[in-house]
């Protein structure tokens, strides 16, 4: 029998309890039939009350709901980073570093465009290792070069220092953004593979699943866009399929043949079944939502197989993210007067 330390059991159990408290499918179905004031009241009376009260003076209406949801997510993620012990903490922090990339890029882009700091701050979600104080410090800086200097101790720095001059010159941060995400995956794979941390194998399994799904989504997007350029650079290495595999899959012109090839390389039964369903499917947005659902199902399965590992934490992080995503989608969708059926298509339940 494998011995598991008490803090691991404690945190994994807490994650399961927190996950059980997330909104169930029936609540979303009920909310689809609610009006905006009803949805607003529902959110105000739930766990998001504190953020709604705090931000009530700065925002109003639908923006208040969206910002409150994002801040609650950030706060929850920060809390989990605090309570996670040992390797779980390290993996959780590594996993949440993607929010740092998003925040830093938003600040750099906003500053490059001459957007006021207050406006940039409204769209930051401090859910990663950079908390709001640090982000505020970046916002107070006059130039992007100074912001990059302030990030010298951060893992992002080498890629930022290398990629920023060309981004500044061309005015496009896309290459830098892709490089930062690739570096992010490269580092978490390296962390997971280094035998020094217990539980690395199960973390690696999840990361590889995420990379595969991310690359599959990119592949479908590129095909929808009919991009002719060399797209190797847009895939993340480290998954079960190599970048070359994805590049050659992208070269297949016939959609059904391409899906058959992708299916032959898929590791999980759920993914194979989904790919079979996607034959003849045209909407790329629908494909993306369905791939996300498969990813979550797969994560759930992994977390049941490894109940005292990083998986219960990651499943909770992802499910919490999608709860916020779904509530925001419901509120925004209702505000835009989208039909309930259309909103339901985009919910990740």
């Amino acid at each position: 029998m494998v011995s598991v330390s008490a803090p691991y059991i404690y945190v994994c159990t807490r994650m399961r309890v927190r996950k059980a408290k997330l909104l169930p499918r029936e609540e979303y179905m009920r909310m689809l039939n609610m009006s905006i004031p009803e949805i607003t009241r529902f959110i105000e009376e739930s766990q998001y009350k504190q953020e709604i009260d705090e931000l009530g003076t700065a925002f109003n209406g639908i923006n208040l709901i969206e910002v409150a949801l994002s801040w609650n997510l950030a706060k929850e993620y920060q809390k989990i980073q605090e309570i996670a012990p040992g390797a779980l903490k390290k993996f959780t922090q590594a996993y949440l570093r993607r929010w740092d990339i998003q925040n830093v890029l938003t600040i750099l882009r906003g500053k490059a465009q001459g957007v006021k700091s207050g406006k940039i701050k409204e769209i930051l979600i401090p859910a990663g290792s950079l908390d709001i104080k640090e982000l505020d410090r970046f916002l107070a800086e006059e130039s992007n070069d100074r912001i990059i200097d302030l990030l010298k101790m951060h893992r992002m720095y080498p890629v930022l220092a290398q990629g920023y001059p060309s981004a500044k010159e061309t005015g496009s941060f896309s290459q830098l953004e892709n490089d930062l995400y690739k570096q992010f995956y490269e580092e978490i794979i390296r962390d997971a593979r280094s035998g020094s941390i217990k539980g690395g194998a199960s973390f690696l399994a999840y990361i590889q699943l995420e990379i595969d799904i991310r690359n599959a989504k990119t592949l479908f997007r590129l095909r929808a866009d009919s991009t002719e350029e060399d797209v190797r650079d847009l895939f993340v290495p480290g998954g079960t399929l190599t970048v070359n595999d994805f590049a050659s899959l992208n070269a297949i012109k016939d959609q059904n043949e391409f899906i058959d090839q992708l299916k032959a390389n898929a590791r999980t039964e759920a993914l194979r079944a989904l790919l079979e369903e996607l034959k003849g499917q045209k909407s790329i947005r629908d494909i993306e939502v369905r791939l996300t659902r498969v990813q979550l199902e797969q994560m759930e399965r992994m977390s049941k197989r490894n109940p005292f590992s990083i998986h219960p934490v990651l499943v909770y992080l992802e499910k919490k993210k999608y709860e916020v995503f779904n509530l925001r989608a419901l509120a925004r969708g209702k505000e835009s007067k989208l039909p309930s059926e259309k909103i339901a298509e985009y919910l990740v339940i």
């Binding site: 969206e66 769209i123 496009s172």
Partner: protein, 209 residues
């Protein structure tokens, strides 16, 4: 022009005849120009209707896509992706001549971009952003196309109106007045000739008696 102001002289008559000839020629040419402009206008009207229809269709799609992007990515995600776009589409304004009317010809820089060239990273965004960006790029293209066609139409309309006024002025004012003046001078000259003849006869009769 009041008839009393006209000098009933031969040179004035010749002058008036010349003016009438010129006015009639101008009238014919302007009438042809007006008809030609109207034909051009109707030709462009078809294109303008199509362009306006397409513009409205694309606008509705863009609004719908923005609503969808706000639903899926939230205003935060949409704003964050919007920060990526730095390049503003530029237009080069040239002009072309349609029957003497100078109309604009707009050449724009490529508005529609591929996924790779849009400025946001593929790994940090979702397809709904692609679709929204693409629908707005198409909308901008439609706006540029409509701007060209509708400005052409507006200029043609102004010119038609101007030409119509000139044709009417020539047909109902200038030519009738000149003709009246010519007839008046002719009548006065004839009268003067008759008076002269009568006077000569009276002198001849007096001198013979």
């Amino acid at each position: 022009m009041a008839l009393r102001d006209i000098k009933p002289t031969r040179s004035e008559l010749i002058n008036l005849k010349r003016k009438i000839q010129l006015s009639e020629r101008g009238y014919k040419i302007l009438k042809m120009k007006r008809d030609g402009l109207i034909m051009e206008f109707f030709k462009i009207l078809g294109n303008a209707k199509d362009a306006r229809g397409e513009l409205l269709r694309r606008y509705e799609r863009s609004v719908e896509m923005m609503a969808l992007a706000n639903t899926v990515e939230g205003a935060i995600g949409v704003k964050s992706a919007a920060f990526s776009v730095k390049e503003v589409p530029t237009i080069t304004l040239k002009s072309k001549n349609i029957m003497g009317v100078v109309v604009p010809q707009i050449d724009s820089s490529k508005v529609k971009k591929s996924l790779v060239d849009r400025g946001y990273g593929v790994l940090g965004t979702s397809p709904v952003i692609d679709d929204t960006a693409s629908s707005f790029e198409e909308l901008v293209e439609s706006i540029i196309e409509s701007a060209e066609i509708e400005t052409t139409m507006k200029r043609l309309l102004d010119e038609i109106e101007k030409t119509k006024r000139r044709v009417n002025a020539l047909e109902f004012k200038v030519i009738p007045e000149l003709t009246e003046a010519r007839d008046f001078i002719k009548m006065r000259l004839d009268e003067m000739e008759r008076e002269e003849l009568f006077r000569m006869k009276r002198i001849k009769a007096r001198s013979t008696s």
